[in-house]
Symmetry: C3
Subunit: 325 residues, 3 copies
């Protein structure tokens, strides 16, 4: 694996999930694979789970990790080409990426969208330039439009908690209210991965959101989309709760309708569904405390699985690096 | 040891001090004890000594260390239960702590008091919730009301510099002036530890402060309290200099009386006392430069001993972890 | 080597360059030299290349690395002696340096000039006090007036890309426009190292800058100084592009004359010169994109060489430490 940016970078989804679960059973099976290899984690935005779980995964593979909070320990990067850099940006992504590629065998990058210009965000210009100029394998720690480590984690978590063989689990991604305009990266990515998983006969996938919150079509092909939460979650085995701002009316908040918040009474409509969320979650705004603190919530185990997703991906990248040499 | 939050978590004070001094003589006796164990250090507030000494201690035990500056690299945490999170806090301590516990075998947490609501600060609500929800052993890197790694360090330093057997060392904690309102955590903790040490026949302990600066009674039981600096330090073997804001008139500064600053002339009243301070110290405001730069000051050695205090505590926690498995 | 602050700390320039290139060929020849030794990297200012390359170098020597962003994770330091610390500074450099020396075997420090008081900046008061009080070897990660790891890197890069034996390479440091007032540290240091290299028969060195941009004489003794860019770069084998603010009219910007920007047409005057820059570089302000993206640019390789410069210096310091014990 030479990059991990979207589900398209995964040749065999089921195998990768299996490998992650094997690493969870036995974290140190490849404890020397990354020896004398350096992972650089570059953050242009805050991070808790991604930061710690990816570090932990790398350490368990024997790698050395260097963290660079570019926004706080460094300076502002220019991404546009052909501009005279006489403004606030101090270094161009061309140089910054290339230099970090000199020091690291694999790089991770986190970069949020600005939510102002849809075309710019969805071009993934910054991320693509970073991947291109650094000349080493890049693992996405969340980009403007995707968060593949989260989605792989989610698929691992669903696999781990589904034991029936007679039927597929019904997975519903349910939009939830929020007061801040959030990126579509997590829901895009979850949808992209679930549509692929559905196509490969692993899940049955439905999306529920209010009118005006349709995601970009490229991420949702094959999904059942509904505008009624109650209808969508009927018989659900997994409910994946997530807010996002509008893609159509880009970056805007149309609704904070509290009837879209999953609580215990909503859960009665489901098949004793497990409730997932990528975290951080705003209690009693996005998701009811009674659910988060109850037996249906999987959010902590899900966050814990971030380690195994990252470790499986890094392992693949290291194997590729070693076979290339 | 499953938590290190106050002196009550230490079964045998003298043994822990001895162990720290043995580690100082031979830092790598347990260099593999922490192999494949991860320490997470979570800072909600700035830190120099605590940050570096705890990292160093963990490294010398073979642990991997991950540092999380939650205030700068992450986001604001909610601690109150039962509130709709539609304000500035992004994640609840329930989730944040539980998630960090997924990635780390032991966690350290630093969290200062706000000095606005005494009851809230002294409830140690944030710290107790963190300990409860993370489900792994927690080492305090300073909480709202205590700084036990500092106090253990101080006891180690006193033991190291006291060679008489015929009598106990007279230890005096002397309030000092400061222009900023500082927490009571360090003096509470020092007093708590010295009262325990006094009860176990290790020291003779006196506190000196101006009227209006009494600490909470729970920390000072057994101490001699005086309101005259000169009388208190008479014949002192160790003078522990520290400012704190008022506990009674909570978080307020009543006095910056420079006659409470220890200088060379004050030292003539003592028994050639060693002078200690947890640092950072404001020169010539809290403590005279002539003392800090002179032969009586122990402050640098004291700061150096932070490593051995942390290493002794982490060693205990690792031993417990390994015996539990 | 007990400190690495200026070229004067290097006994044999050519040997150190050779050693760095040997480490580049074989990064792990001394992979255990730094075992159980700790490098502390203290940043009072932002850093990308220096931060990552020095970490990487230390890791390859087997050292443990602790990073301290003193400006963000800590607090403001006082450097003046004899002042009552009742202002904004929280800790004196005397204590802060001494304490960090307790935790680390080698310390690195980065500290920029304020560009307000020339005498203060050029006294290197902060850096000298840090070196004096910490009592362990100190490696400069850039100080007010010098950046020796960059300069050693530059000499390594020139050596690596010069294969003629019949004559010396003509190296020209060319002032370039910038909109911000930058320190003289990099040009001072480059000049100091090139003058030494010239004296030892390794290069032929010229400086080109507009009138009003003369560097302090102590750094430029032996260099040919010209005020015409075109004349200076005639026949140049290496052009080292760098902006600096005025030393004479201290910290001021006198010119942003775009005719001082190196572009492809300027390069025709040279001997197919390789173009160097310490980075970050502002494209099309300091240096034309067409040059940075073309075959003459060495800037990425140069940045990559920062690792080997740091590793050679740290190796010397470790050897000294071990021979002292």
């Amino acid at each position: 694996m030479k990059q991990f940016f979207s589900v398209a970078d995964v040749a065999n989804l089921s195998q990768l999930v299996d490998e992650a679960l094997q690493l969870k059973s036995n974290p140190f099976t490849a404890a020397n694979l990354g020896k004398r290899k350096t992972l650089g984690l570059v953050f242009l935005n805050p991070s808790l789970r991604t930061r710690l779980s990816t570090q932990k995964a790398a350490i368990q593979l024997g790698m050395d990790v260097m963290v660079m909070n570019m926004d706080k320990e460094g300076w502002a990067l220019e991404t546009k080409d052909g501009v005279t850099m006489d403004g606030n940006t101090v270094e161009h992504i061309r140089e910054a990426a290339a230099v970090m590629g000199q020091y690291c065998d694999i790089l991770g990058l986190r970069s949020f969208p600005k939510l102002q210009d849809r075309e710019e965000d969805y071009s993934e210009d910054l991320f693509r330039k970073f991947m291109s100029y650094c000349k080493v394998p890049v693992i996405s720690l969340e980009s403007a439009t995707r968060h593949p480590l989260q989605s792989l984690t989610d698929l691992i978590t669903i696999r781990e908690h589904w034991h029936e063989t007679a039927r597929l689990p019904k997975v519903v991604m349910a939009w939830a209210p929020h007061i801040k305009a959030l990126p579509q990266a997590v829901p895009n990515s979850f949808s992209e991965w679930m549509c692929r998983a559905q196509a490969e006969g692993m899940v049955d996938f439905t999306i529920a959101h209010p009118v005006g919150y349709a995601l970009a079509e490229e991420f949702t092909r094959g999904a059942t989309v509904m505008h009624s939460l109650d209808e969508a979650i009927e018989g659900a085995d997994f409910v994946y709760v997530k807010n996002w701002s509008s893609y159509e009316d880009y970056g805007k908040i149309h609704s904070v309708d509290e009837r879209w918040m999953i609580d215990s009474s909503k859960l009665t409509l489901t098949n004793e569904a497990k409730v997932m969320h990528c975290l951080p979650v705003r209690r009693d705004l996005e998701l009811a405390s009674e659910v988060l603190d109850g037996p249906h919530a999987l959010v902590i185990q899900e966050a814990g699985n971030r380690v195994w997703a990252a470790q499986a991906v890094l392992k693949r990248m290291l194997e590729q690096l070693l076979s290339d040499n």
